[in-house]
């Protein structure tokens, strides 16, 4: 990681010094006179930015044209002031000519930390993982064309996961300013069109004033639930050139954002349904944005003495809380008379079974008269093209609101309704739930004993050994996909903080885990917290260059490879199809396995500057090596442990 200059006042320009605080500040004018301008104030409009001289005989004869070669102000310095006014402190980027002006300002005129990425997909995924820990976005820079094309999959993941990523993409709008064929190929009429289906808002500002307003607006829109990526296209001429004389640039004030809470009457109705229910259940998916979200859900559960099923897209509810019944969510949902979904995007899947046979079908698993309630900010904003809104699930009451913000009001409404008789009844229900929770934990530990000594290493043992190595530290599991690990971390680990589990990619786009956990590490680092990624092998191979970024930025992160040497989900799918057709599975490894040769992740990591161990096939070696790896990470460095694992 490279840190920008500590004191912009010492820079040669110091153009917008002191203007980085939120609030309207008039800037630009004092130093504007220093700019070398090709035109006079009362003459013809002067060009914005440096001017490329046209070929002429004088140049070819060695006599340089009389053109400006120095500038005293820079449009991109103003951009930096706006960016810093938003509280953004970190950048992830792979370099690109179309944003060289802003790049230069960021490294010489800002205090932002820079993560050099080797692929834009990694840049965005880093920002994705960072935001889930930090609660605010990282800046991502990219070319408006090829960079956004690389970045698009990761942007889609963040969109599906309701996570803000603040993207600026360079473009050269004015055709005569495109000097080479590469610049032409990297220019575009409408850069945002490529990703507009899965971002929340974008703009292509035509002036610096326009930039200031749109940059603040993009941040505000991205940070308003449902959160999502936003995009600002930054014209290369506007970045590179000096600040025009006439405009008095201001930094628009960023509004404080109050996430919308549910309608009070509707929440009172929900409370009534819940207190009158015999078997209510809460199903939470992306309920939690902050620690407050966990605390509020705990308060709600303890008020009503109700089971909570955490679907795992976020860390919603402590795994060891006596009312955590995630292990038995299917059965509880099937028996429930009131189901409260909190930011539960895929409500249909929570209430149905899907049968993936030659003819696929779904059937309902809930009681016919069960009441379904949804509190979700996802209802507040959707696009049509991509189908991430999931199958339509009719509910009895849909409250389009941020559930984390709504919970205190719901709990308050419940308290008003619960009389002493109800309280005793609910407490008795709570005792039963607590007993079932304890049984589920005992069962999980017993399950982990199967294949304990197997090689390849069982995923249960893998997760138990990792937890043993980190449990006494402040840790953060920043990326895992629950299904790929049979949910062992949620079953075996004591998770109670919002950073203990940030959930999966959102859009199930593979290639998220490795860079997203690096981004999470960039947020966790200042807390002295160890970041852990139980990283699928297929995922790692999408952008292994992020290991170099982790080394370069000195990110304290423990990568443990879940190396089953295959795209395991797809292996099973191909086997199913082949056997349906009675062709056997002799050839079903083709296209879905990562063997011949096996990938040596430890050697790969070493080559990218990351300390490493493995491949480990003997589970007895795992514990001692993980301890060594944690010691390395505690010193502020990344470390990778390659473990050859069972499929799931």
């Amino acid at each position: 990681m490279s840190r920008g200059k500590k004191d912009p006042a010492l820079s040669r320009r110091g153009l917008l010094r002191g203007a980085g605080v939120a609030g309207a500040a008039v800037i630009g004018a004092p130093l504007a006179a220093e700019a070398q301008t090709p035109g006079q104030p009362d003459g013809p409009p002067r060009p914005i930015g440096p001017v490329t001289p046209a070929p002429n005989p004088r140049m070819e004869s060695g006599t340089p044209p009389e053109m400006p070669i120095l500038q005293g102000t820079a449009g991109s310095d103003y951009m930096v002031d706006v960016i810093q006014s938003l509280g953004i402190t970190q950048i992830a980027a792979n370099p690109g000519t179309s944003f060289r002006g802003l790049h230069e300002s960021l490294i010489n005129y800002s205090t932002l930390d820079w993560h050099t990425c080797t692929h834009e997909e990694a840049s965005v995924a880093m920002a994705h993982g960072y935001a889930k820990i930090e609660g605010k976005p990282m800046l991502v820079l990219a070319h408006g064309t090829v960079g956004l094309q690389h970045a698009s999959m990761a942007i889609y993941n963040a969109w599906c996961d309701r996570v803000p990523v603040y993207i600026m993409a360079g473009n050269t709008v004015d055709a005569p300013k495109r000097g080479s064929n590469a610049v032409w190929a990297h220019s575009v009429q409408d850069a945002g069109a490529l990703v507009r289906d899965f971002i929340k808002w974008d703009d292509s500002p035509a002036s610096l004033t326009h930039f200031g307003e749109s940059a603040v607006r993009a941040y505000k829109i991205g940070m308003t639930p449902p959160m999502a990526p936003t995009l600002i296209i930054i014209d290369s001429e506007m970045q590179d050139g000096p600040v025009p004389e006439n405009p008095k640039l201001e930094i628009p004030k960023l509004s404080r954002i109050a996430p919308v809470s549910g309608d009070q009457n509707a929440l009172a109705e929900v409370a009534k349904l819940l207190v009158n229910a015999e078997n209510p259940v809460i199903v939470a998916d992306r309920n939690t944005r902050t620690q407050a979200g966990i605390d509020r859900l705990v308060e709600l559960a303890e008020t009503l003495h109700v089971p909570v099923c955490d679907m795992g897209s976020r860390m919603n509810f402590p795994t060891r809380h006596k009312y955590n019944m995630s292990e038995r969510s299917r059965g509880l949902v099937a028996q429930a008379d009131v189901i409260l979904g909190l930011e539960l995007l895929d409500f249909y899947n929570a209430t149905h079974s899907f049968h993936d046979n030659i003819e696929s079908w779904s059937d309902s698993r809930i009681k016919k008269d069960a009441k379904l309630i949804s509190i979700s900010s996802a209802d507040l904003f959707n696009h049509a093209n991509y189908q991430d809104f999931m199958r339509y699930q009719p509910v009895d009451l849909a409250i389009p609101a941020d559930s984390e913000a709504s919970l205190p009001y719901l709990t308050e409404a419940l308290r008003k309704l619960i009389d002493p008789g109800m309280k005793a009844k609910f407490e008795a229900r709570g005792e039963k739930i607590a007993s079932d929770h304890a049984k589920a934990l005992t069962a999980a530990r017993a399950d982990a004993l199967y294949a304990w000594d197997a090689s390849p290493v069982a995923t249960g043992r893998l997760c138990a050994e990792i937890y043993e190595a980190i449990r006494s530290e402040d840790w953060s599991l920043a990326s895992t996909t629950g299904n790929f690990l049979s949910a062992w971390p949620q079953r075996l680990w004591d998770m109670s903080k919002h950073y203990h589990n940030t959930g999966a990619a959102g859009g199930s786009g593979i290639g998220y885990c490795a860079p997203a956990s690096a981004g999470a590490a960039a947020a966790n680092k200042k807390h002295g917290r160890i970041t852990v990624s139980i990283n699928p092998d297929g995922d790692m191979m999408y952008s292994p260059g992020v290991l170099w970024t982790a080394a370069n930025s000195k990110l304290p992160i423990l990568y443990v490879m879940h190396n089953n040497r295959a795209y395991h989900q797809e292996i099973m799918g191909i086997q199913r199809i082949a056997n349906r057709r009675q062709r056997g599975i002799d050839r079903t490894h083709i296209g879905v396995t990562l063997r011949d040769p096996f990938i040596d992740y430890a050697t790969m990591a070493k080559g990218l500057g990351v300390a490493s161990f493995g491949p480990i096939t003997d589970p007895r070696e795992l514990g001692p090596i993980l301890k060594k790896a944690v010691e390395i990470v505690k010193k502020g460095e990344p470390c990778l442990v390659d473990v050859v694992t069972q499929g799931r």
């Binding site: 199967y450 069982a458 049979s486 949910a487 292996i571 099973m572 086997q575 599975i585």
Partner: protein, 115 residues
Amino acid sequence: MKHLLASLVLTFGAAPALAQSAAPAGDAKHGELLYMADGCYQCHGTVGQGSRGTGPRLTPNTIPYDAFAAQLRKPADIMPPYTALVVSESQLADIYAYIKSVPGPAKAGDVTILH
């Protein structure tokens, strides 16, 4: 995929009601090779430990042979069917013998880190 587990457990649970016959003698060693070659391990794990998202545990309380064969030939839900064209009767017996030969789980008392 959790429903797969549920349906298979149901299927396996119903097995005792079927007419049962003794399991044919099988070669456990050859069965292990077949278990790997035929991809059983992909969903059930290399020692039949199972996985909640893919396939149920097969050991140590393995279902009776008749139910086992029925499940392979005409599986419930999404498990792939293994017809006689793919797995012969003798191969089926070998695979069953391998599953039956797998030792049980580690002893809880020996695994301190789970406590």
